[in-house]
Symmetry: C2
Subunit: 435 residues, 2 copies
């Protein structure tokens, strides 16, 4: 197949906007209704509902929903040394990068005798969802489990859909356990989100749910996040995407395989190349055709490439401006001067600099988190970090001298807003200090 | 009036749960429908719709929606020196505390030759909403404008409802301008949120909206946040609340005026006292009755006190456990050893330590932000800080040596997940390096 190719300078403003439009995601009212019914059922019938839904939707009759210590040992033994070592090495890098994100407490004496602080506290109970649909995703388990554990969240629950034999994927179990999770449940889909958001006899209630998932999981997260009695969610979901900026020096095979990597995530993925080299654009197009023969999941890839684009731009600066406007989840800058371009990059979930930093590194093991804002959300949401597992609590304390100075300011502002009790709370204290 | 009084140890588990329940907030489908229609109208007709809605809902016919430079000067001149100085002093404290929150970039070499970074970028365009219903709230303008400006958000738009004479409240205008806002619009309610989330000919489109508001504003923020083409929101809203923990040494007048301060925010406010002293509880009850005579807004206060409670608890440790469970927006710890209790406090928006730190200080001028998670959201949301005006972007870069080590790990994990293009993107690079 040949990819859609464009020359930016020949396009009108409207054509440019249409080209950089994401594939529409239809809000599916049927899915929302199905999910609402599942959540209602789990809230009402608890574990019984979860078991019934798992039998119907996953085709597995389970007695025990929780993964046992024996099953954790068995999962470890089921993996090869190579796989185990890769998981352990990835976790170590993710730990190093996320540990560096733990915020130091802030303490400022804003005026003499008035001390203000901001102190992080772990969210007490968090729920992690790891999908296992077309492929099990141990990497998602690592990306969620590491920050939850480092943040010190007391209760850390993981749910993932069971396989037909009633077990969880061993790579997911091993990765989660190695990253600090001991409470794992064989529950998938909207029923997993409901069980974690509201709790059942066996699944602890959590106050925030994290992780990727299919349309049902996404709808369930939206549903519970809109309910004060439910659970907050990490970020809104959307199809995954990559934007590659490459110059004439880029290797076409590198660029092509980066685009194909993103495309294999799913039929709704979007991949975009911006290059100032017409020659590279053609070479990348040919390389994609050549590599496509070698890959499984080629149907998914072809579908994704259908709404993707190879675009020739006048300059690399233009490419950056277009990218900032598009706000890609993943941005690969495969140019000779990649590092020097970084200060110009505004909106992107995660940036991959240079020719030897394919998206695969960030997806698995460089240390950055692969849970990232997609679908343009890189304009207003950050990728996952340890901060989303923490609460920032502020503290203030005034000394008698501090209060004597700041009290009258507060009382003046309270009167300006017509809030007389606020002023009175200051005045009774000033009066007692004899001022 | 006499407040509802309880003894914790005489209550059953169910009674305790009911007592610490927040007043129900009915989700109002009529408001949601009205708001959806307003948003649709603004998206379709832009400024014309805003003008028409302002005429209908605020009773003001406006030609120009934007506040002019002359109006900003006039607002400053309309205020007394005392008021101006109080606003300026408060802004200086808020700036000091929020400036200290600007995160340093993080750079970690997770393994030799693999560099990972997390760099903050300002959200390019933010919208700030300042209500002016029962009372104009210049303090809200300060709390939103200071972090937006310090974060470096390029476009900072403020909307507030016009008064009957077609002007904005001068204290709001002066506070916003002094804190770094120059683009102010005379637009209130759902139409303000719609104008900022989608943009009009005169109001710039923003990608995140912040600030408190009435039920229409809250519903509009929820509506635009659920649309990828709309704008994210700061946090879910709920009625304001305070929980005071006080021991026998606390001054009853201080505690009473703190409870009254919170109660005057609105009829749906909730105020709770937890004390281990039966004598203090009775003194506070008497003091509230006494002070209530002196206050305006006493109807609002009485309504709020109706669903509030003075509770005698066995010990201060019990009080902290109950508070952690309740997760109050504001927590005042008026005990002799307040500072030493801080490590035990888990879930609270903002904490006020000791006898001389009334909530008024944090509401106006200590330096902390008064936009805080309420209604139990202190379990899963942080109060406003500079971080919510920033995006955290991650970056990674591998050197040839780094790639030689980490590449095979990524390829192993990609194969484990059945993602062959991810592995290929590594393999073509390893092959070219001759490995």
């Amino acid at each position: 197949m040949s990819l859609p190719r464009y020359q930016w300078r020949t396009l009108s403003t409207v054509e440019r906007q249409e080209l950089m439009q994401r594939p529409a995601v239809r809000s599916n009212t049927r899915i929302a209704a199905d999910v609402a019914a599942i959540i209602e059922q789990v809230r009402r019938d608890g574990d019984d509902a979860v078991r019934a839904l798992t039998a119907t939707l996953d085709g597995v009759a389970l007695d025990a929903l929780q993964v046992t210590a024996e099953e954790i040992v068995a999962a470890r033994d089921a993996l090869s040394d190579t796989d185990r070592n890769a998981i352990t090495a990835a976790i170590a890098n993710i730990q190093r990068f996320h540990k560096a994100q733990i915020p130091a407490p802030i303490r400022v004496e804003t005026q003499p005798g008035v001390i203000c602080e901001r102190i992080a506290r772990p969210i007490e109970a968090v729920g992690l969802y790891v999908p296992a649909g077309t492929a099990p995703l141990p990497s998602a388990a690592m990306m969620l489990a590491v920050p939850a554990t480092l943040a010190g969240c007391d209760t850390r629950v993981l749910c993932s859909p069971p396989r037909k034999d009633g077990s969880l994927d061993p790579a997911i179990v091993f990765a989660a356990y190695a990253a600090g999770i001991t409470q794992m449940f064989k529950i998938g889909g909207a029923q997993a989100i409901a069980a974690m958001a509201y709790g059942t006899a066996t699944v602890p209630k959590v106050s925030k749910v994290f992780g990727p998932g299919n349309a049902y999981v996404t709808a369930a997260k939206m549903h519970v996040a809109a309910d004060a009695a439910g659970a907050a969610q990490d970020m809104p979901a959307g199809p995954s995407e990559v934007l590659v900026i490459a110059d004439a020096h880029a290797d076409a095979d590198f660029v092509a395989t980066d685009l194909l990597s993103q495309a294999e995530h799913g039929a709704d993925s979007q991949v975009i190349l911006l290059t100032d080299s017409a020659a590279l654009l053609e070479s990348v197009n040919s390389a994609i055709e050549r590599f496509l023969q070698m890959l499984n999941r080629s149907d998914l890839i072809r579908a994704a490439l259908d709404h993707s684009a190879l675009i020739e731009v006048p300059s690399i600066d233009d490419a950056i401006a277009i990218s900032n406007q598009y706000a890609p989840e993943h941005l690969i800058v495969n140019t000779t001067n990649a590092r020097t371009l970084l200060p110009k990059i505004r909106n992107a979930g995660s940036v991959f600099l240079g020719s030897l930093t394919p998206e695969s590194l960030g997806d698995y093991c460089s240390g950055t988190n692969h849970v990232l804002p997609t679908y343009g959300y890189a304009r207003n949401y950050s990728g996952l970090g340890i901060d989303q597992f923490l609460l920032q609590m502020t503290v203030q304390e005034a000394t008698p001298d501090g209060f004597a100075t700041i009290g009258p300011i507060a009382a003046t502002l309270a009167r300006l807003e017509g809030l007389s009790a606020h002023a009175l709370a200051v005045d009774v204290r000033l009066a007692q200090a004899g001022q």
